[in-house]
């Protein structure tokens, strides 16, 4: 390292290349910019001219300066400049103990810590010191001092652990008595017992500490409150205002994990905690599997979610609703109270709620469901639904499931049920028996005050015992369950209100609902909740927050899991029990981050105010920028920049959105009213004529028929949608461009779906198809889906759709062509015409310049003369009639053609 003031150079010899700069100066001045080769006829006029300024073949001074600066920056960059390089540290010769915390908090910059440890080990090795390495998250054991070479391979493979060091006292006991120095690579957190260990180490030798200044961010377990997911993040140290992004991840419907939502948490200045609420729809919320602070790669920034976020959709259907004022007697009141905070409730009638596809349907004292509803209900249960039924007076009074088992009840019922402890009975109210093993309620404490006064009784069928999951102390079934398809049907033999028993008043009721996976658990499971269950790790987290498959982990007892902190035997992860999953996170609900406090006697490294700052990248970037400016400058000098800027400005100016908006406006305009349309040819005069012509036809239609179109529209075949129009008038000009492939696609679609195009070559068909317009039309129509044509026969439906016509004049009077009639068209009996084709001819082709005959100006006066005198006016009238006939033909289709059959129909009706 070679230093100039605060600047050091990694490869100072490269700076010698700066000597070459003047050579470059001379070289560049000699080479002018490359010429452009242009073909130019006017060169004859240039011959013999001389350039005025002979200096211009030299590169201008500012370009030279620019290039020299670029080169200087490049040389400077390659010399590897570093601002404030760290000096090497002094050594001693006592053995050195490297202490690493090895906790999850180390994971945020683990490679840097390992690098640091390697550097220390190398230095110590060079000084001939022996070394030992301990990781505080390991089981305590006496450190083994060995040569640096032996230690190095271990360092490379070292990984942090996803929990915090705990057993400091045993580490103190395991320390050897010989003297050694300590280098403590700390994770920056105050772990319990750390101060004692530090004191013990300080009595043995000197202690140096390494800490990184990188802030530590951690995410607390999420909770669900007030209908939203509550996110809380901690940071260390408290700095200025900053924002962190938390990403909520889960499985998408295809089963692939992806980010489902994202929230931003803002740390106020000086605060270590930030909170926010994330409002998610239940469907999305139920899919969440974990939250993580984006950009943080350690287990503290990840929090797994278990069932506590899941909200089941529960449909409540009570039988005797509507009794005002007797809220406490309502069959569903207690259920609502128990479920409202922890589940999404759906109410309504049965048919409606089944379509909402809830997870659970609760039928409180409903005996009968109609056949159709029952079928739907069975289908829903078989697909995995849970049907929970409560007994009650109605169920007891009905004759349902008396003689044979009802598919929607787990057992057969005996008539009437029984009453206990009433004024007219001998027995006392019965209490519950302890839940048997194998029951989902196993392990729940049975409160003695719960008593049952009345219940419905199950018939003693062979599988009754197997279906019973809770009994009274005398052995009568209280809750029975049967499996139906993938779902299950559960019957509680008492009412859901306090009428028959005090069960709904007890906490057991809520716990039972939880065990039935109906309601959701509170965020923090109590030991009692988990008692009696064994949990198996489903997924575990490593220190970097990545999900790993568990390997060789034994089952964990529920009571050990509740409220436990992760440790070597209990890695953080998701633990699955019989019917629930519990997440064990690195950061528990009450874990608080506190920074490690080091006494003033301990030197702390890593947090130096002036960090090393390599300038190589910046210098090279500067060199590149200068070279790019040089490119522009060189282009400018050689006169090639003009085309470049023109292209750029074109790119920037083109508004891409305008077209889409235009298309919308066009669609709205075309569809709000019926519109006749013409094809825009690009010839302003022809287009104007088409517009006026269709306007004239429109006025005639308006006056004479019930077809009342709005102003005609021009259609650009390339850009506009044709589907909105029933009819297109297409004047063919000789120099019309051939439509593109896309436009042909639209046109063919238009023709196939019942549109009609009137081609007008405006040449009166005189040239026999050899006029320029006709030839153009042949070219255009070649790619169109047009059926065989024939000259319009005298009995074609066009002759009588509205007016009776013999010819179809426009300004000219030539023949027109329509789709050919089928060869088997037969003359109808007693009719002057054949019963012709059913469809509407997709094209009408002629050259009679109809638009000119139809055209009227703004005052309704014809624009062009037709023929001479009154004969001409008659011809114009016939032209209008033809227009009306053709539009009628478009709209009524084969209606007029079908009139042929009227006599036959009347005859068949016997009239």
């Amino acid at each position: 390292m070679w230093m100039i003031g605060p600047l050091g150079f990694a490869a100072p010899l490269i700076l010698l290349a700066l000597v070459a700069l003047p050579v470059l100066w001379i070289l560049l001045r000699a080479v002018p910019p490359a010429p452009i080769l242009r073909r130019f006829p006017g060169v004859t006029l240039l011959l013999g001219l001389k350039d005025e300024d002979s200096e211009t073949d030299r590169t201008p001074w500012w370009l030279l300066l620019l290039r020299a600066a670029a080169l200087t920056a490049a040389i400077f960059g390659f010399a590897g400049p570093i601002l404030n390089p760290t000096p090497a540290d002094p050594g001693s010769d006592a053995p050195l103990l490297i202490v690493m915390d090895g906790s999850w908090a180390d994971a945020r910059d683990w490679p840097r810590r390992v690098e640091r440890a390697e550097m220390i080990a190398e230095n110590a090795g060079r000084a001939g010191r022996t070394l030992a390495l301990i990781r505080l998250t390991d089981a305590p054991q006496a450190p083994q001092f060995q040569a640096a070479d032996a230690l190095m391979p271990r360092l490379g493979g070292l990984q942090p652990q996803p929990f915090a060091p705990a057993d400091m006292a045993r580490w103190i006991a395991a320390l050897p008595s010989q003297a050694f120095d300590t280098y403590w690579i700390s994770d920056g957190l105050a772990h319990p017992g750390r101060a004692d260990l530090l004191a013990a180490l300080q009595t043995i030798g000197t202690v140096r500490v390494f800490e990184t200044p990188r802030p530590l961010l951690a995410l607390r377990p999420v909770t669900f409150q007030d209908g939203a997911v509550q996110l809380t993040a901690d940071r260390l140290p408290a700095g200025s205002q900053s924002e962190v992004e938390v990403s909520a991840r889960g499985l998408d419907p295809a089963g692939i994990e992806r980010e489902l939502a994202r929230a931003t948490l803002t740390f106020a200045t000086g605060q270590t905690t930030a909170e926010t609420a994330l409002n998610l729809p239940p469907e999305l919320r139920n899919r969440l599997t974990r939250f993580e602070i984006s950009g943080q790669r350690h287990a503290g920034a990840v929090t797994l979610t278990d069932d506590s976020l899941k909200r089941r959709k529960v449909a409540l259907i009570g039988g005797g609703a509507g009794r005002e004022g007797l809220l406490l007697l309502s069959p569903t009141h207690y259920l609502e109270q128990a479920l409202a905070p922890v589940a999404d409730l759906v109410t309504g009638n049965l048919a409606d709620v089944i379509t909402a596809n809830p997870d659970v349907i609760v039928l409180a004292d409903i005996a009968r469901v109609t056949g159709e509803e029952a079928n739907a209900l069975i289908k829903w249960v078989e697909k995995g639904g849970l049907l929970l039924r409560f007994a009650g007076p109605k169920l007891a009074a009905s004759d349902i499931a008396r003689s044979e088992e009802d598919p929607l009840l787990p057992v057969r019922l005996r008539e009437g049920g029984r009453e206990l402890g009433g004024a007219m009975s001998w027995g006392d109210p019965k209490t519950l028996a302890a839940f048997p093993e194998g029951s989902p309620f196993f392990g729940l404490p049975v409160p003695p005050e719960v008593s049952v006064k009345a219940q419905v009784l199950a018939q003693p069928d062979p599988d009754l015992a197997a279906r019973t999951i809770a009994t009274l102390e005398d052995g009568t079934p209280l809750v029975t369950r049967k499996v139906l398809g993938q779902g299950q049907v559960v019957l509680v033999h008492v009412t859901a209100n306090a009428e028959w028993s005090s069960l709904p008043l007890s906490g057991l009721f809520v716990q039972m609902l939880e065990r039935l996976a109906i309601s959701t658990r509170p965020a923090l499971p109590e030991a009692a909740d988990l008692k009696g269950q064994t949990f198996q790790a489903d997924t575990v987290l490593d220190a970097f927050g990545a999900v790993q498959a568990p390997q060789g982990l034994p089952g964990v007892k529920g009571e050990d899991l509740a409220g436990a902190a992760p440790g070597p035997d209990l890695p953080p992860g998701l633990y699955a029990g019989e019917d629930r999953r519990v997440a064990l996170n690195v950061i528990g609900a009450d874990t608080r981050l506190s920074p490690a406090e080091w006494p003033a006697s301990v030197p702390v490294e890593g947090a130096v105010a002036q960090a090393e700052m390599p300038l190589k990248g910046a210098a090279l970037a500067l060199a590149l920028c200068l070279l790019m400016v040089d490119v522009l400058a060189a282009l400018r000098l050689s006169g090639r920049l003009g085309a470049l800027t023109a292209a750029l400005s074109l790119l920037l100016l083109a508004p891409p959105q305008a077209q889409a908006q235009g298309a919308d406006a066009f669609a709205i305009e075309a569809t709000t009213e019926l519109r006749l349309a013409y094809v825009v040819t690009g010839d302003t005069k022809v287009d104007q004529l088409s517009k006026q012509g269709l306007d004239g036809l429109r006025q005639q239609l308006f006056a004479r028929t019930t077809i009342e179109p709005a102003e005609p529209m021009g259609v650009d075949l390339e850009a506009d949608e044709l589907a909105f129009f029933p009819f297109l008038y297409w004047p063919v000009t000789a120099d019309q461009p051939i439509p593109s492939v896309a436009a042909y696609g639209k046109l063919n679609q238009f023709l196939r779906t019942g549109g009609m195009i009137l081609f007008d070559t405006r040449d009166a068909g005189m040239a026999g198809g050899t006029s320029p317009e006709s030839r153009r039309l042949q070219l255009i129509a070649a790619a169109l889906d047009i059926p065989p044509l024939e000259q319009v026969p005298p009995d074609h439906v066009l002759t009588r759709t509205f007016y009776l016509l013999q010819d179809f004049p426009g300004r000219q009077n030539g023949p027109i062509w329509v789709e050919q009639a089928p060869p088997d068209a037969a003359q109808a009996d007693g009719m002057p015409f054949r019963s012709l084709n059913d469809g509407v001819t997709p094209v009408v082709i002629g050259g009679n310049d109809w638009a000119a005959a139809w055209a009227v100006d703004d005052r309704g006066v014809p624009v062009y003369p037709v023929g001479r005198g009154s004969t001409g006016e008659r011809q114009r009238e016939i032209a209008w009639r033809f227009g009306i006939n053709i539009i009628m033909h478009v709209f009524t289709g084969n209606y007029k053609s079908d009139q042929v059959h009227v006599p036959a129909l009347l005859e068949r009706l016997g009239q």
Partner: protein, 324 residues
Amino acid sequence: MTSAAAPSSLRARAAALGAALPPLLAAADHLAASVAFGEHGRRRAGQGDEFWQYRQAHSGDAARAIDWRRSALGDVQYVREREWQSAQSVSLWVDASASMSFTGDKSRPAKSDRAQLLALALASLLLRGGERVGLMGDLAPPRPGRAQLERLAAALLQNSIGDDRSGQAKRIAGYTLPPETGEKRIENYPSAPDYGRPEVTGIAPHGRVVLISDFMGDLAGVEAAMAAATDRGARGVLLQVLDPAEETFPFDGRTIFTSMGGSLRFETLRAGDLRARYRARLAERRDRLAQLARAAGWHLASHDTGQGAQPVLLWLYKALEAAL
């Protein structure tokens, strides 16, 4: 060209010609239709179709010349005279040299396109007026009638497209192409000459001549052609077609200019400095042309391909009408 290569290349050329012909014809017709029909009569009695005047019969008038219907109104015999309509021969020359294929911007047509369009539109107008129109240089002798227009179009396109392979072009360029490598070589070798020189053959005596070119080459050829035409009693019109880039010289920086064929070459280090001098030389050349035209009683106009073709067609028509 060997006979083996001829049929296929002829077909290819015919197809190429067929592709270009209808649009050019349509565009020319379109352009011609915008110019109103003028009078084509000679404004005196003679052979023709249109009524000119009644005059009293002289002795010597044939009895069948007397218009009996008019004469029956009075005592004097009248003869119905018709306007003398004579057809003129107009010979067109469109420069087909390489320099005409220049365009300074892709959005503008090449000069040759514009020149052909103007020539054909003018021919269309003249043919409608009953004149005989042909191309100089034995390409198409002057004939009347609508069908001549198609022949003219074919000949014009042939002259510009087929130049490469026609014997005429080879004669001028002074070398022949090996037949087997014809297609390939044409890309590299400009076979049309760099600058055009009017052909003086095919000018009808006392006919009219229209020369359309950029007149960038040696003016001696033009002078000679004009002299030859004047010798035959023909007068005419010069139309200089230039690209805007040739008028404004919008170049800058170090540039090597070559002629379209590559036969001329000029290098400059700062093209922008030459602009004023180039334009002065262009103006000088135009003056020279104007002088030539004035001396011979011809008309001269300059047309810029950046502008529409219609005004200059109108001018051509009027100038020719005055010359007729």
